[in-house]
Symmetry: C4
């Protein structure tokens, strides 16, 4: 099993926090599969939960907009703030499901953890695939749950439209920008919000600065407020994707489910921005944190701010890999 896990890029030892793994039936075939694929399974289901709540909250609020009869309070079943809470608690509960693998349901954060926090790069592909599949399954669940309501809202069976159509429902799944926002502002909005996200996540995890330990219950709880804040303060112009899997997975799924080519072309082919900006934003936010506050091991705390990596890449990579082998991480 150690061999299989290592070949997938995972830590040779599965992160099972107690003596469960010593259970007598752990040598069954499926138990071994489950232990081998522990982190990918965790990331997959964590992302399913995140997207189910997140996309589900938009679906409920959007599709019930303006309903007066049968609605307690007489004005639909939620408002924009419900969407903020939905994404916030979706991320929180998703991370409780996923445990603390350093991936955080977001490939851009996984990427920053590889870049700045010694998460081995070979972990990345398995985490990424699990996150992407999870987001596709999560958006499927929401689609299946609300299919009759979408028909009802769009005005007929099988009608599916994309913003800025007046009764568009594609916004349930992927994000679409406000019409007045220029391309540069779209990019900047996703970039700066991702940078703040990464900066605060690193602060919350920095033990040297009042941060939280691994398996501290506070960390996912604080993400509730961080994501809520992203939606309340930076969520209007572009919909705060901040995450390739949150946006691309459901977008692909909505394309497959019949929303048509407009899911790609809407907003001036906006779709590539949440695929690109979060990586750069998280990289920038992580750089700022490490440059100004972080005192631990980081490439930024290296000669020439770590730029030596670019001059002697092979030597650096070999040294890093050797260090990980010494720690039996790979």
């Amino acid at each position: 099993m150690r061999h299989h896990r290592a070949s997938l890029g995972l830590h040779p030892l599965a992160p099972v926090h107690d003596d469960h793994a010593k259970h007598e039936r752990q040598d069954l075939f499926w138990s071994r599969v489950r232990t081998t694929l522990r982190e990918p399974f965790s990331e997959f289901w964590g992302t399913v939960i995140m997207i189910s709540f997140g996309n589900g909250s938009i679906a409920q609020v959007l599709l019930s907009s303006g309903q007066t009869s049968g609605a307690p309070g007489g004005n639909g079943f939620g408002n924009y703030q419900s969407v903020n809470w939905g994404w916030g608690l979706g991320v929180m509960l998703g991370i409780y499901v996923a445990g603390d693998s350093g991936a955080y349901l977001n490939p851009a954060i996984t990427f920053s953890n590889c870049l700045y926090r010694q998460l081995p790069w070979r972990r990345f592909p398995a985490y990424f695939i699990a996150q992407l599949l999870g987001s596709m399954v999560g958006s499927c669940i929401v689609y299946a749950n609300y299919i009759s309501a979408i028909d009802y809202y769009e005005g007929g069976h099988g009608i599916r439209t994309v913003p800025p159509a007046p009764k568009a429902t594609a916004g349930i799944f992927a994000t679409y920008p406000q019409p007045f926002v220029t391309k540069a502002s779209q990019f900047f909005s996703e970039f700066i919000a991702s940078a703040i996200l990464m900066f605060v996540v690193f602060a919350l995890k920095d033990r040297a600065n009042m941060g939280m330990a691994k398996s501290d219950q506070w960390f996912p709880f604080m993400l509730l407020f961080l994501i809520f804040g992203m939606g309340s303060c930076f969520g209007w112009e572009t919909g705060y994707a901040l995450n390739l899997t949150r946006d691309f997975g459901p977008r692909l799924m909505s394309y497959a489910l019949g929303y048509g080519h407009e899911v790609w072309s809407a907003g001036g082919y906006y779709f590539w921005i949440p695929m690109v900006a979060p990586w750069l934003g998280c990289m920038f936010g992580g750089f700022l944190y490490d440059a100004f506050i972080y005192t631990g091991q980081s490439p930024v705390n290296a000669p020439f701010l770590g730029l030596s990596h670019f001059f002697h890449p092979r030597r650096e990579v070999r040294a890093k890999l050797q260090g990980q082998k010494d720690l039996q991480m790979v």
Copy 2:
């Protein structure tokens, strides 16, 4: 007392967490009754609290809809989000009252704990009866509290109507589906939401995956957000019953209080769906968690995913019972 408790299906020793039980007056008649019936009493009162806040929040928001005079803010006394908070905090406070018996105020979760988490099946009946009675008493309290407001809202003394009547108040007590939702969607909505509920509850309780210990204050607190999320993301189409006692108890009570036969026939005899779907949903959600993430003792971590139970039922049951006896659990 151990004998009485065992004959009711309870653990021979009452779960009193400290040395209170050593108090000198514990041999009084009523003290012995209280200790004997500790978990049923706890579940009963926990459910009373849950339903009081939950049904109470719907009552307040529905009956005050659109009131402008005397309402701070000029638009009633709450909105749909207040209902989400009301159910969330009702479940949280109810579980604080009930302690951590593994029953969680919901017979479908009790059932999953019996099925997957070694809670002895003989606990089930006493918990279930306590939950059902508690939900009936809770809805009675809300009815008694709002009786004059219901008269006022319905338009006359003793008028009681059921959705989709325009001034219906039966929705305070039980759930009624939105009119456009097909029978299959009704079932799916309750099923999938119950599955997510069970999945996340198992994750929050899984010590091997960053989960929370018994008597950890975080667990009920996280249920606040989980139930809030259920209401915000999956609460519109069918009203997120997710729980036989939450729906059937108050429905029975509303029938007894004069809402008429429509409480059963409304929504195409919808009433049976929240009686059936939560069991299947919780069973499915628990199965998924155990199949993909849980590493502890579970029938799913057994040869053929535990299906051997179906081939040799008698032998399995006898072995399980013997194990429980060895642990002095029954």
Copy 3:
């Protein structure tokens, strides 16, 4: 100082939780006054904070109702839910200020703690006076802060009206019932909500039932949600006073500030209900908790449910007092 404290009914030793009291300057006159009156000062300021936030939230939401210009979102500065949060966090922060003296800013809860939890009765008067004065000062602060806004809202300098007048502002300070609620429903609403409040507070404090220890940070935090829930679920008909000092202190103050005799006569001389119902409700809720769940020392856990107190009052009181003296509590 011990003598002075005992003569005021307080514990002979001031509850200072660390070695602060050993500070060299503690023999100054005012330091001794402060230590002697520690709990009354704490309750006083805790109540000031509670009422400042609580009354302040109603003032802001009511007086800004419907304001469109300059209001982010275009609809005033808060809604009914803001009032729920305001009271909830007011109680939470007030209890953080007041510490954990068993008084909880509410004389009815103080009373129940005397009755059921061995808080000596002689503590009651000092706590009660401190709470009442604190609520008067708190409402004064809110009045002083919003005086020009009240003039503006009422339509002229010095105009002060009481519900059901269309521009009434007396509801900022004290509670007034909805017009359709009968006298019996008014009483029941305050009674049952107080009973639930006391029941849950006792549950949260019961260490034998997953409850919280003294100086546990969770307890005040959970009161945030409990009070929020009271406002969301039982707050419409009568305004959830649940507390003599929360209602009577600000009412007296509003009378003194010129709101006229209607503060007493409004709602069919409603004012006496929040003065009476909370005591009975808290007594009933505490009785239920002790009868069905509590396993510790309580008069309910005594022969004939503690009714022997009524048969041999003198003997019981003497025995209780002797017990407290043995523990050096009085």
Copy 4:
């Protein structure tokens, strides 16, 4: 490095909470700069985060007011409560970033900690400059993010107006009072809210009164609710600046960005009130806490309530400085 830190007024030893500082690369130039300027950098970035979320929440809610198409719920992207949450979580996350230096992103609170809690006065200038620069950078980020939306809302490229203009956006950055509030009420509102803020912060930090230790995760979390409460209960009349840097920094920035001279003259030259009132309010609130509740070392716990400082200033200052030197704090 100790010398450089001392000459900046900082504690000779940088507050790095673990063994990170022993990292091999800490002798690089930039690592030494980072350690030398640790607290100013922390305060700077904490303030950036606070202002980004706070100003960002106002920007989003104000600029999207009344938008119906594409808005889930059909009424903009947030309401006034979102602004309260935005500031609350901005302060919370900012303090997590800043750690626990006693500065709390607010020079008036820093000032009170110097005055009443033995924070050396020489810390003040470096903290203050860092906070002010941080607030300017934070408001720049928000401006850059929303620049096209501001153009769209104001009605044209480069149009920038200040309240009470009907489409004013200057309120995103600095606070402007409601038009009916008199100068005295403006001052009182900021003064009393600052006093309550300081009073509760001191209570939350007072270990002798159930308060929280350094690096306790609860303290920043409770500030979330404290600031939320400030916005819900005392936020309407003057916008709850409570903090020179929160108001003056963004105001200066908005002036530099072209909002014109009205940012100073609006509201009858209101701008000086949030520059002055918070200091007096925090001083008063801290005095009240120390006079009535605090039992630790404080000038108020000194002969004549600490007024001797005014009679023998030189002697007092010298004694204080000697004490700090003995503790190696300066």
